[in-house]
């Protein structure tokens, strides 16, 4: 009479088939889907472009900043870009609705532009440091660190040395 139990179980459980495309699509937890880019957190290190196995990421640099382009049609969702992105500017969403007609083939891109800002010290254009990078690099945020943040590497070096000499003198 074991079959009765199986029959009853099957009747109680309902269909095993997912409703999609006639119903809502299920989203798996931690699904690695379409890559999203947040230009506000990007530091322009270029690691994502380097590690992308499909060559889906391209960074165009010019005098005014950089433009990052991701073409989803050659992305293999490996997640290397998101893994190596220190400032979490690139992350993977759980969106998998990427099937599209041929006319949209080259429109399936994600673009983001990071603009240069002038250095407070010398006016040289530098890429802005995001809050995420500041959080990673420093434990607390002091006014001193905030001041160094807006300086180019050369000015930052000079300012740091000046600060150290000043501290040394006051100690002696």
């Amino acid at each position: 009479m074991g079959f009765l139990k199986v029959l009853l179980n099957n009747l109680m459980k309902g269909p095993a088939t997912e409703a999609f495309p006639f119903g809502p699509p299920p989203a798996a937890p931690h699904y690695r889907g379409r890559v999203a880019f947040d230009p506000a957190s990007c530091t322009g290190c270029g690691m994502c472009e380097l590690v992308c196995p499909g060559g889906a990421i391209r960074i165009d640099r010019d005098a005014a900043g950089l433009q990052l382009t991701i073409w989803h049609n050659t992305c293999v969702f490996c997640g290397l870009c998101a893994h190596y992105c220190l400032s979490k500017a690139i992350r993977q969403t759980d969106d998998w609705h990427l099937a599209h007609p041929q006319a949209e083939k080259f429109h399936l891109v994600e673009r983001g532009r990071v603009s240069m800002i002038p250095c407070v010290g010398c006016g040289k254009p530098i890429l802005p440091l995001s809050d995420e990078v500041m959080r990673l690099a420093f434990k607390g945020r002091t006014t001193e660190i905030e001041r160094l943040r807006r300086l180019c590497p050369d000015c930052r070096r000079i300012a740091s040395i000046r600060e150290m000499r000043h501290a040394h003198r006051s100690l002696v």
Binding site: T17, N73, W96, A99, H100, K105
Partner: protein, 142 residues
């Protein structure tokens, strides 16, 4: 003829061409058809063994040099009107094999592609979504 178009539009047969695929997309295509959880036959589709019976062609793989002529020959055997679906990033752009000396693709250099389903491999639901789009195009072409 309109009755035929109405009936045929509801039951396109699928044919699968492996143009040098790593088999990942083919496994997902088999999963889409064979596992009750996804069940592509709800859309009226079924896989067929001969290109001459097919209506929708699913192409996987980056179209390698070695398989190019055979794959294109096979595609040409599918009677018109037909709908071509590129499954996976390989036939669409070459994917990780892009610009390799061993591939002749992307596929749309040689044959008109109608629907692209990117992914490496695309998940079964994405394939079903692509096939649903292909069925819409197929119904218009009849």
């Amino acid at each position: 003829m309109t009755l035929f178009a109405h009936l045929a539009g509801r039951s396109p047969w699928l044919y699968r061409i492996n143009a040098g695929s790593c088999n990942g997309c083919d496994v997902e295509l088999a999963t889409t058809a064979c596992i009750p959880r996804y069940d592509v036959e709800r859309l009226g589709c079924r896989y067929c063994g001969s290109p001459r019976h097919a209506d929708i062609v699913l192409v996987t793989g980056p179209l390698t040099i070695r398989v190019k002529d055979k794959a294109l020959h096979l595609w040409a055997e599918v009677p018109d009107p037909k709908v071509t679906v590129a499954v996976g990033v390989c036939p669409i752009s070459g994917g990780v094999f892009r610009e390799s000396y061993a591939i002749a693709g992307p596929l749309d250099r040689f044959i008109p592609v109608d629907v692209n389903v990117p992914g490496c491999p695309p998940r079964p639901q994405a394939i079903i979504e692509g096939i649903a789009k292909a069925i819409e195009i197929w119904a218009q072409r009849l």
